[in-house]
């Protein structure tokens, strides 16, 4: 497909049916997922991730209830995988070991075990189990912008020591810029002998650029979603990754026109909102806040009569981490109270 000589292989993971669940408010049905996954498999995407947006076991008041259970989603996509590997995400503290065992029943071949960038040691039992179950195991260091390159190296080494086959610099807040991506990937490359991955969010408009920066420093595993469908301003757009990597001379093994069609004809009509870098999404990247806070902050802003941007900036100042969705209402209430104290007209607080 490529006009250039190959510079090597890049392994793409499409997460339309996982990170894409955030902007869809976890409403994708098993049938819709099967259609998306079937198209991705047809296009030759090597790894396809399916889970609640917050991983297995994520269906909850705190993160939003899924339209179906983890089991129902996996059951729906299992028959359409062709040669693609099925991946699941698990965040220790939310998902548990039995969730992983269940996913294997439906043919999951890849487990991505995600922790905050400083907390790799809570993943030991899950990485161990995943390896024992014969899965390719990925250590996912989330909110990577909150850890220095040295910290990433240290935590990546831990994940590798538990058995991870790949360690990811996961830019959950879309807060990294090319230089800070490179510093982290490079520190990790010197620290571990396993493969390195990079997961982008587009809050600063850098999802594709940062992915390329990571590849330049030696990352070989890259995440994307069709139409960029994902938390915050979304992820690196799978179809753009395929086109750009092809032009640069990297092999992905993915049929560009087929993923383009899948994005345009299947995913785009399902989207609840356009995937934009709007004010709140840009604030998430700027303040360094977990991308899936976006819709929660918008809802809290409307309900309590405060600005989403103010909520997100405050969450960034407080050092909120992934999974703390419950803090958003707390912060919105505090801002509403402060606003009312300054300007005692009735605020929208019940």
């Amino acid at each position: 497909m490529s006009a250039n000589a190959s510079k090597g292989k890049i392994f793409l993971t499409d997460m339309t049916c996982r990170d894409g669940m955030h902007p869809m408010q976890h409403s994708l049905t098993p049938a819709q997922m099967a259609r998306i996954v079937g198209g991705l498999a047809e296009a030759g995407v090597p790894t396809i991730e399916v889970s609640h947006g917050d991983g297995l076991g994520g269906s909850s008041f705190n993160y939003g209830f899924g339209a179906a259970s983890d089991r129902e989603y996996l059951e729906a996509v299992a028959p359409v995988l062709k040669n693609s590997e099925l991946s699941v995400l698990l965040l220790p503290g939310i998902g548990t070991k039995p969730d992983l065992e269940m996913a294997v029943e439906y043919g999951a071949k890849v487990a991505r075990i995600a922790t905050h960038v400083t907390e790799a040691d809570i993943a030991e039992q899950h990485i161990n189990l995943s390896k024992k179950l014969g899965m390719r195991t990925v250590g996912f260091l989330m909110m990577s912008h909150m850890g220095s390159p040295e910290k990433i190296a240290e935590q990546g080494r831990l994940m590798e020591s538990y058995g991870a086959d790949v360690v990811y610099v996961t830019d959950s807040a879309g807060a990294l810029i090319p230089d800070t991506v490179k510093a982290r990937v490079s520190a990790l490359r010197q620290a571990v002998s396993c493969a390195i991955g990079y997961h982008a969010h587009n809050n600063l408009g850098l999802a594709i650029g940062n992915s390329l920066a990571a590849i330049e420093e030696g990352a070989t595993h890259i995440d994307g979603t069709l139409c960029g469908l994902g938390a915050g301003a979304g992820n690196a757009q799978t179809e753009i990754l395929v086109a750009v990597l092809d032009k640069m001379g990297y092999e992905t093994g993915v049929d560009l026109f087929k993923v383009m069609d899948q994005a345009e004809d299947v995913v785009k009509p399902l989207m609840l909102r356009p995937q934009l870098v709007d004010r709140a999404a840009l604030t998430i990247g700027y303040a360094g806040v977990y991308s899936s806070f976006l819709l929660f902050a918008n809802r809290a802003a409307e309900k309590y009569g405060v600005e989403a941007r103010a909520i997100l900036m405050e969450l960034g100042r407080m050092g909120a981490v992934g999974g703390q969705e419950d803090l958003i209402v707390d912060v919105a209430l505090q801002l509403a109270q402060a606003k009312q104290a300054q300007n005692p007209e009735p605020a929208g607080v019940r």
């Binding site: 909850s60 705190n62 907390e119 050092g319 909120a320 703390q324 209402v329």
Partner: protein, 301 residues
């Protein structure tokens, strides 16, 4: 009536914090702190305070069973499984601070009294101690179909035990939401936050109910917060109860924060403080119960 004698198994963070709290108890005499590492900080502190120590683990009690009537176990779930059998043979009441969950669950503000005949009671988890009272407060007013909690603790306050057993934390807490909180189903989530300075322990409780009696739930929650504050002074209602209509009923949201008393660990370790404070409350209840039984026996005799 004299104080009841108690020993602590485990001289780590929890055991040492518990030691300081028991020294203030009007009903419990701390007779022995037992560790396994001779030069541990906890044992050194106990010796400085003139408290008898041993580094021989549970053997210390096997050799000197007269040293304690009740035994607090602040070791690990794995160790407690062994300890539970030995303590039962010795006829000691065990108050288990590990997630071993051998005995019935106890939350002092919810079900203290009806566990008094149990030879071994379990304190569930820190997240359970902080959130189950809130679920119970709601379920006393009307049925809770489903309760979910999110416990966020500072990374610094999560020791290797918690980190290596994070799944057990979620299962045990979820079970407690049902068995003690009275929810139909339970789910527990734990989040570690490494921010500096360390954050206070915060917990969010969600309950699903049908057509809530908002005034009655609010009153019940406030009353329960006071009941917890009686033994955990740093327990505070941060927000709520908030009531929102959802697809399958109503969501009741309650947020609490726990500031530690700062006995051994800093105030951010509210998650450890609430466990040791609950343990003292349970121990004192056993002490009063056993004193009462002795008086009854004396009266009969």
């Amino acid at each position: 009536m004299g104080k009841i004698k108690a020993a602590i198994l485990g001289s780590g963070n929890i055991g040492t914090d518990l030691m300081y709290k028991l020294l203030r108890s009007p009903e419990i005499e701390l007779s022995l702190l037992i560790g396994i590492v001779p030069d541990s900080d906890g044992l050194a502190r106990a010796r400085e305070l003139g408290i008898e120590t041993s580094h021989e683990g549970i053997q210390a009690l096997v050799q000197h069973p007269e040293k304690a009537d009740i035994v607090f176990d602040a070791t690990s779930a794995k160790a407690h499984v062994r300890h539970a059998a030995t303590l039962k043979q010795l006829g000691k009441t065990a108050i288990d601070l590990t997630p071993a969950a051998r005995g019935p669950f106890v939350v002092p503000s919810v079900n203290l009294d009806f566990q008094l005949s149990a030879p071994n009671v379990n304190l569930i988890t820190c997240g359970g101690q902080a959130t189950i009272p809130m679920v119970a407060a709601v379920s006393r007013v009307q049925p809770v179909d489903y309760a979910e909690i999110v416990a966020t603790i500072s990374s610094k306050s999560a020791g290797p035990g918690t980190r290596q057993n994070i799944d057990e934390f979620t299962y045990t807490t979820a079970r407690g939401l049902v068995e003690v909180g009275g929810a139909g189903k339970g789910k527990a989530i734990i989040v570690l936050n490494p921010a500096e300075p360390p954050i206070m322990m915060r917990d969010t409780v969600y309950c699903r109910v049908q057509e809530p009696d908002e005034a009655a739930i609010t009153a019940s929650v406030r009353k329960m917060v006071e009941a917890v504050q009686a033994y955990v002074p740093g327990y505070r209602l941060k927000a709520g109860p908030l009531f929102e209509k959802e697809n399958n009923g109503w969501k009741v949201t309650i947020m609490v924060e726990v500031t530690g008393a700062g006995d051994y660990l800093p105030s951010y370790a509210g998650n450890l403080d609430i466990m040791t404070a609950a343990a003292v409350a349970v121990g004192e209840r056993f002490a009063r119960h056993s004193g009462q039984q002795q008086r009854e026996v004396a009266n009969v005799g």
